[in-house]
Symmetry: C2
Subunit: 211 residues, 2 copies
DNA sequence: AAATAATTGTTATTACAATAACATTGTTTT
DNA sequence: AAAACAATGTTATTGTAATAACAATTATTT
């Protein structure tokens, strides 16, 4: 019901607002938020309207209240657990990163097929052999999986994850996964991102002076 | 002129087509490509139309020719060089990844501020101290930068990159960067992606049975 | 206390992207 | 050689997201 793009921006708004809150600030205007995130003030106001929060005119939005409203929408009322599959280069980087950050989402376990990488604690996250996938996911009631394993095994593991009750996947493997309708997939494809940057760079170089 | 979303898909089409080519296949239909990437055949045909390629009816598209047309658009005629800034966890993972992959984009240098991480070759990429940023970027004629450094230094380094002639940035730091109009920025924000997945998972769980 | 200025909230418009419809054409079959 | 078929190419439609316009409102100023 709330547009996907708005959800993305809400996440970014919240992070910016939390910074402001730390600096003891109380109110902010739509144009401040817009300027900070390279958006238009209209866009910001529209998003805030969509989530049903209202500021006070001439004074702006209460930072604290706005954070609360956004959090209610993004987080709901209970925490959500996630697991990482594949503790290679990328998997370790992500584990390390999220072990620092605190949020409503907690990474509760990691998995790998390589016996050298399991039964250890890496960046504060316990790592298990994939054979225990179903068991641990049920025990921890994890609902999200972050896929950073080799592409070859990705579809097979995905099927197991779905069977175990995972409802959302953040997929870093470059392959396209098949999942049932009720499982939400967010694909992140680094090659595509890089090729896209390269394309627009090329275009901008080609068009130099053509304005 | 070609829509951004089409550029993204072209990158994915090409990767799929290259796989097919390796298997010695010669032709494919729009519906095959669509099924493989979870798109509609109409979307695929439209994209192909936009880039001015035409297949043959009843026979489909020539895989080889289509790859060539896409490559002409995405790659242009010369290679493009990239650098990585920040050889921490994520920087290393990416360097390692792209040292394997072959494409039109080559990562020619890496930079860090930590003296323990410089003047070495990491995953086949030579790593320099950031003090040499301008020099090396000019020497290598790099046009793209991948930012995987700590957020604190990101805006400062970005200014230096722009000054040195960088025209495209793939930004993994979670902060929003200021750049001139002619510099293309692609932001990738892992927290936002994960929070988005969490939101839609929550929604789907809440709406269970409400269909 | 009235006027002013600045900001919000909402509706209207425009732009962009995806989907659908269908006419066209090359291939195959009989 | 003619007819049927199955795919493409293109136009039309719908849907979604972003932008713009403006009315409503509340602090501030005089
Ligand atoms: N590193 C990057 O920057 C990068 C960028 C884009 C995409 N990717 C993708 O992310 C994935 C991981 O990349 P990486 O660089 O970390 O690779 P990596 O080889 O360092 O790590 C892969 C890990 O997955 C494990 N694994 C393999 N099969 C498994 C299975 N069936 N179950 C559980 N674990 C399994 C391996 O043991 C290994 O530890 C790959 O699919 C890659 O294409 C990585
Ligand atoms: N690791 C992840 O999965 C992940 C996910 C999302 C975002 N990020 C972002 O990516 C960036 C890197 O993450 P990480 O986990 O690799 O962190 P990290 O601390 O492992 O690495 C950061 C590296 O940047 C270097 N650095 C710091 N300041 C620098 C400067 N001015 N010039 C050059 N190098 C500098 C540091 O020496 C270090 O090697 C951070 O901004 C982080 O927010 C990381």
């Amino acid at each position: 019901m709330i547009p996907e793009k708005t959800i993305e921006r809400l996440s970014k708004y919240r992070r910016y607002l939390l910074e402001k809150l730390e600096k003891q600030e109380e109110y902010l205007y739509s144009h401040e938020l817009a300027a900070a995130l390279h958006l238009t003030p209209e866009q910001v106001r529209r998003d805030i309207m969509l989530i049903g929060y209202t500021g006070t005119q001439r004074k702006g939005y209460s930072i604290k209240e706005l954070i609360d409203v956004i959090s209610k929408i993004l987080d709901g009322d209970k925490k959500i657990n996630a697991v990482i599959i594949g503790m290679g280069h990328l998997g370790k980087a992500i584990s390390n990163y999220f072990s620092i950050k605190r949020s409503n989402i907690e990474i509760v376990a990691a998995f790998d097929i390589d016996s050298n990488k399991v039964d250890r604690i890496i960046s504060g996250i316990k790592s298990y052999h994939v054979d225990n996938l179903d068991l641990i996911i049920n025990e921890t009631d994890a609902k999200i999986a972050i896929l950073t394993l080799s592409p070859a095994g990705a579809q097979d593991i995905t099927d197991q994850l779905v069977y175990a009750g995972i409802k959302g996947i953040l997929n870093f493997t470059s392959i396209t996964l098949r999942v049932p309708e009720d499982v939400y997939i967010e694909n992140y494809d680094m090659i595509t991102s890089l090729e896209k940057v390269a394309y627009f760079v090329k275009e901008s170089i080609d068009n130099e002076g053509t304005l």
